[in-house]
């Protein structure tokens, strides 16, 4: 017998020596606790169905899946290989969904509390009728006592999209304030997009297989963030070059051809540096820049800002005021919509007329382009089609708008003024961030910055009329303040390199023929209008005035401050749907703010800590249970499918759409415009809400048979065509996913100047005199540069928010398959930093900021800078008692400074702040599950009884 010299233990030691930290390896034995405990002989002969549906185990990607249902029970979830957008992807969270649906801790009945907030609620089961009555009465009392503006709504990001907390409940109560997960999760990208092109164009057509794949503050391979992990890996493997911009080595970043390890929070400087390299090396798409951006418009410092009435993002109008030179600045009676440019060909001024019904250069007429060619992307998956790319149109009559130079103009009052094109100003801004200068700020070597920017902007296929691909930028650039300008700076690169609405480029939400936000708002009542909407908290002139333009969310910290101080007004009522209080701003303040409410309503699947502060709590349905929902790709994947009911919902759980309508009914406010049926049945709502001229049942049946619709084929003009600013479709596009009905064909963009606004006239109007018309870089408010005195006591930069393969934000901590893989929150720390602090692998550590402290477990990680740590977000511990369920021990946002936020969009300051770290001598929070072998995990396995 050959002698083995290596035991299991010594193998693990070898592995540990080479691995700074192995992933969780739990191999101890335990009693059998199989998932499917129903495999009895009697049941094995029952009916087995395989149902095609769409996963919603994370709040993001529309992965096509098959659910096997045996005798009415879901027993297996598999990827749907025919789903071209997700390639058969099925992640850990998807598999564990069955454990969520059949979880013993699911909320099954409406509940009311019997103890004061802050104590164990003492939940008592009530009927739906009683619950709805309580909810209506509770909110009405708040309205009667303090006015509707003392109510705020709270949204999360999961459970389909019928979340009335985004707008519907603001319709119901007439309140302006909303704390939205969106505000810190692609919201800043959308906000920036709405300012400069269209709100959703940060979404990138990853499925279009870009040849240069750039991930910027993104790790979608793990998060499935609007692209499946499988797609992302496939795209990366097939790309000629993969560039990763991330302060730490990420899951896929390990494969990067170029890794730019940017200092946390300095992405804006890096983006301007890329732009500097691209401009100085003339690698920009001159046609796009001249014809479709406002780069050639002339900036005049000698005029009073003026303009014309423009629509706000949501409701109402504002008077846009800009220093861009207009015909009205030059001649009496001149049009304020005519933006002057210098024509190098004729050596004279000419103009672009941005009037809503014109949007043309002087002398031009608009014709929908007919010349073009099919996209030529390699390696598309499945039956996904190429789409059609119109040829870039030329100026007709021919002009050459100047990008460079200085020109003298005579103003209408006779003064002369020297003016320069926007491009000169932008170029000068970017020139402040040469690669050498950017290296000082970002810590990224200048040579790497230059190389990456050149590779990105130099076309691999010059014969194509578009660039190498978009930039896949995600949350990291949104969390360190300066988030709006970071997004604008990155999107400017996308635009100027010819990657806006191009194959593999950034092209926004899929424009499908079905309504992805079905059931989230009423049709019979408007949203709160100005002046009520102008009361939105955080929207003051010295705060973030653009919030009154955007109207989609409040400054979360301002809401909490108002709740806690009563200034500027008391905040006494709240309603939460698929959300929680831990996702932004200070979790400590948020908890106290909810605790002091007179009335708080929540609908959830779980006894989440948020739910434990509710006065009345309603049980929601899981994605395997809901009656149906259309699922167009929220991002640029171009697929349309559906959620269909796979299993019967348990107890008295309710579909969120039905809940929304029921809440309206309880307060006597109509939902639908049909006076005979103001509160429609779910069947009717599905029919109305679907948006396609089709019965829901027919749509769902076709989906079962045919699978996912290729929206490029289904909507050839709205989605199957690229460069839609050329074809007149762009102007009809706004917001997430859905564009219903006919679009009047007008060229250009939906911005005040009808151009891709490198110079943002809306920011100029709302933030006058701040030089934020261009996407300036601002040093993060908490850094060794801006607050060196704070860093003396708190010397480490805290990064947070990276995705965990088995969790989606606050979700899944109670699912055995997830928790056993990842039982504790981890904090990545450089081994040398850890050694100096006396911290070893696996030690519980305190992470402390001036605002709070929590505990996480040290994970020694050479892939992070020595002056930074990386903590996990949104942790709570379902195994610990109500009402906190452990959030106070582990949830990282207890460290957040609630008064620090992006001044433009009010996104809170969630990563990149000063902390100190030290070993927690007391170890883990008492009573928490720390290992895969904890017997309580088995108590969380599915139960099939008692669900009636």
């Amino acid at each position: 017998m050959a002698k083995l010299t290596m035991t299991r233990r010594s193998f693990m030691k070898v592995a540990a020596a080479t691995a700074a930290a192995g992933a969780v390896t739990a191999e101890a034995a335990g009693p059998l606790a199989a998932l499917a405990q129903d495999d009895t002989a009697a049941e094995s002969i029952g009916e087995v169905k395989r149902i095609r549906t769409c996963c919603r185990a994370c709040g993001k990607m529309e992965c096509g899946v098959w659910v096997t249902v045996k005798n009415g029970r879901a027993i297996k979830i598999e990827g749907d290989d025919s789903a071209f957008q997700s390639m058969g992807n099925r992640c850990t969270k998807s598999i564990a969904s069955i454990q969520a649906a059949y979880h013993p801790d699911r909320l099954l009945y409406p509940m009311k509390r019997t103890n004061p907030k802050g104590e164990d609620p003492g939940w008592v089961r009530i009927t739906w009728e009683e619950g709805l009555e309580l909810a209506a009465k509770g909110m009405q009392e708040v309205i009667d006592k303090y006015g509707p503006e003392s109510i705020w709504t709270i949204s999360g990001t999961s459970r389909m999209w019928p979340m009335a907390t985004y707008m519907g409940f603001r319709q119901l109560y007439g309140c302006p304030d909303h704390i939205s997960a969106w505000n810190v999760c692609k919201g800043p990208r959308h906000f920036a997009g709405a300012l400069m092109d269209e709100s959703t164009y940060a979404f990138m057509e990853t499925v279009g297989r870009p040849k240069v794949y750039v991930q910027w503050g993104a790790s979608p391979e793990i998060s499935n963030y609007d692209d499946s992990g499988r797609t992302v890996v496939d795209v990366q493997q097939k790309a000629d070059v993969y560039i990763n911009i991330n302060p730490r080595q990420s899951h896929l970043g390990k494969e990067a051809d170029i890794w730019l390890p940017v200092r946390c929070g300095t992405d804006g400087a890096l983006a301007l540096s890329w732009a500097n390299v691209i401009i100085e090396n003339k690698l920009y798409d001159e046609k796009f820049v001249k014809r479709w951006s406002n780069a050639s418009f002339l900036v005049c410092d000698d005029i009073e800002p003026s303009g014309y009435e423009c629509p706000k993002y949501t409701i109402g109008t504002f008077e846009m005021k800009t220093r861009l030179l207009k015909e009205s600045d030059l001649v009496e009676g001149g049009k304020p919509t005519r933006f002057m440019v210098w024509d190098n060909l004729a050596d004279r001024l000419t103009y672009f007329d941005a009037a809503d019904d014109v949007a043309l250069w002087e002398g031009e007429t608009f014709k929908i382009p007919t010349k073009g060619k099919e996209a030529a992307q390699e390696g598309l998956y499945g039956y996904q089609s190429q789409g059609w790319v119109p040829d870039t149109t030329d100026f007709d009559p021919k002009i050459d708008p100047a990008l460079y130079g200085e020109f003298e103009v005579t103003l209408k009052d006779g003064r002369t003024s020297k003016v320069k094109p926007v491009w000169e100003h932008y170029r000068a801004l970017c020139a402040q961030y040469s690669p050498d200068k950017a290296e000082e700020i970002t810590g990224v070597p200048a040579a790497d910055i230059e190389r990456a920017a050149k590779i990105y902007a130099t076309r691999i296929d010059p014969e194509k009329d578009y660039g190498n691909g978009g930039i896949h930028y995600e949350l990291a650039v949104e969390h360190g303040c300066n988030s709006t300008n970071n997004c604008r700076a990155i999107m400017s690169i996308v635009g100027m390199t010819g990657n806006f609405d191009t194959p593999g480029g950034n092209r926004g939400s899929t424009r499908a023929s079905a309504n992805s936000v079905m059931g989230s708002g009423a049709r019979a009542v408007p949203p709160p209008l100005p002046p009520m909407m102008d009361k939105i908290l955080g929207g003051g002139a010295d705060e973030s005035p653009l919030l009154t333009w955007w109207q989609m969310w409040s400054n979360a910290g301002s809401v909490y401050q108002a709740a806690l101080t009563g200034e500027p007004r008391p905040m006494k009522g709240a309603i939460c749907q698929a959300g929680d209080f831990m996702n932004q701003s200070s979790a400590t303040e948020a908890w106290d703010a909810l605790k002091q409410t007179d009335f708080f309503i929540d609908i959830d699947l779980w006894h989440h800590p948020t739910a434990e502060l509710a006065d009345v709590l309603f049980p929601a349905q899981h994605w395997l249970e809901v009656p149906g929902f259309p699922r167009p790709s929220q991002g640029s994947s171009g697929a349309l499918g559906a959620n269909v009911r796979c299993i019967e919902p348990p107890g008295e759980t309710m579909y969120d759409i039905e809940f929304n309508i029921a809440m309206f009914k309880a307060m006597g406010v109509p939902w639908d415009t049909d006076p005979d049926e103001p509160w429609p049945s779910i069947e009717k709502e599905l029919k109305i809400g679907l948006g396609r001229n089709q019965e829901w049942a027919d749509f769902a049946e076709e989906f079962q048979e045919n699978g996912w619709i290729d929206v490029k084929v289904d909507e050839p003009d709205k989605w199957g065509t690229y460069k839609r600013y050329e074809t007149g479709i762009q102007r009809g596009i706004k917001g997430l996913t859905t564009t219903l009905g006919e679009i009047p064909r007008m060229p250009g963009f939906n911005t005040p100047t009808k151009k891709f606004e490198i110079w943002c006239t809306t920011v100029e109007t709302y933030h006058p005199g701040q030089n934020q018309e261009l996407p300036i870089y601002i040093e993060p408010p908490s850094s060794p540069v801006s607050t060196p005195e704070v860093f003396e006591e708190y010397p480490l930069m805290c990064i947070t928010g990276r995705r965990i393969p088995v969790y989606f934000h606050s979700e899944h901590r109670q699912l055995p398959y997830c928790r056993e893989q990842w039982p504790v929150p981890r904090m990545e720390i450089h081994p040398e930093t850890a050694a100096k602090l006396g911290i070893k692998q696996g030690d519980w550590c305190w992470i402390e900021s001036p605002y709070g402290k929590v505990r996480q477990v040290a994970d020694l990680f050479y892939g992070i800078a020595k002056d930074a740590i990386n903590a996990e977000h949104q942790w709570w511990l379902p195994e610990l008692p109500a009402p906190e369920h452990g959030h106070q021990y582990v949830s990282i946002n207890h460290l957040v400074n609630a008064r620090s936020y992006d001044k433009l969009c009010a996104s809170s300051h969630l990563r990149g702040y000063a902390v100190k770290v030290y070993k927690a001598e007391e170890g883990a929070p008492p009573g928490m599950i720390e290992s895969a072998q904890d017997p309580r995990l088995k108590e969380w396995l599915p139960v099939y009884e008692g669900r009636a």
């Binding site: 083995l4 598999i95 056993e820 893989q821």
Partner: protein
């Protein structure tokens, strides 16, 4: 004949899907795993290197279905056996739960099912391969890093992958047991 899995580590992103997919397919008890995923690194690329000059990969580790498995040798009842298709299986009827094999396995991938009093580990989804399908950790691999086939067949996909990989094909530490599974790692140093 030797069924095995070849993993392209450059496509593995440590998403843990193989591990969880395996649990769903094989009803592996909570707290036990047939498939673990190790993180190897980040490690300084060369000695003396520091952040950001580091490299990392993820390593899925389960039963290696060895050519000359120690677990089979130490089994007193013949419950653990090497099958004709090259896989190592456990005949639970014969297993007495003595756990010699658990201790003998150099990779720590066997455990005692305390309720059934038998040892369990990866079967390479023998119920699926019997139907001509591939193991769940292969079809369920998010990065499409894993490939299943017969390494003794030079025309199989896995053999071709290994041949193409040349010097970049690796096995876990071999202490005389002859692990069958192969890991392909390009562009960085194999660290076991």
């Amino acid at each position: 004949m030797q069924y095995a899995i070849v993993t392209e580590l450059n496509r593995c992103i440590g998403c843990l899907s193989c591990s969880v997919a395996c649990k769903q397919e094989n009803n592996v008890p909570i707290g036990n795993f047939w498939q673990n995923v190790m993180r190897v690194g980040p490690s300084p690329i060369n000695e003396g290197d520091d952040f950001p000059n580091v490299e990392m990969y993820f390593l899925p580790v389960g039963c290696q279905h060895c050519a000359d498995p120690e677990c089979v040798r130490v089994c007193p009842t013949g419950a653990s056996f090497k099958r004709e298709d090259g896989t190592v299986q456990i005949d639970k009827e014969k297993c007495i739960g003595c756990q010699f094999c658990v201790m003998a396995c150099p990779y720590g991938v066997r455990y005692l099912n305390t309720e059934m009093k038998v040892v369990e580990k990866c079967t390479l989804c023998d119920h699926l391969i019997a139907e001509g399908k591939v193991p769940e950790c292969v079809s369920g691999c998010v990065g499409q890093a894993r490939h299943f086939g017969d390494l003794d067949d030079p025309d199989s996909e896995v053999s071709k992958l290994v041949a193409e990989a040349g010097d970049n094909a690796y096995k876990l530490k071999d202490v005389g047991n002859g692990p069958s599974f192969i890991y392909i790692l390009n562009k960085q140093k194999w660290r076991g």
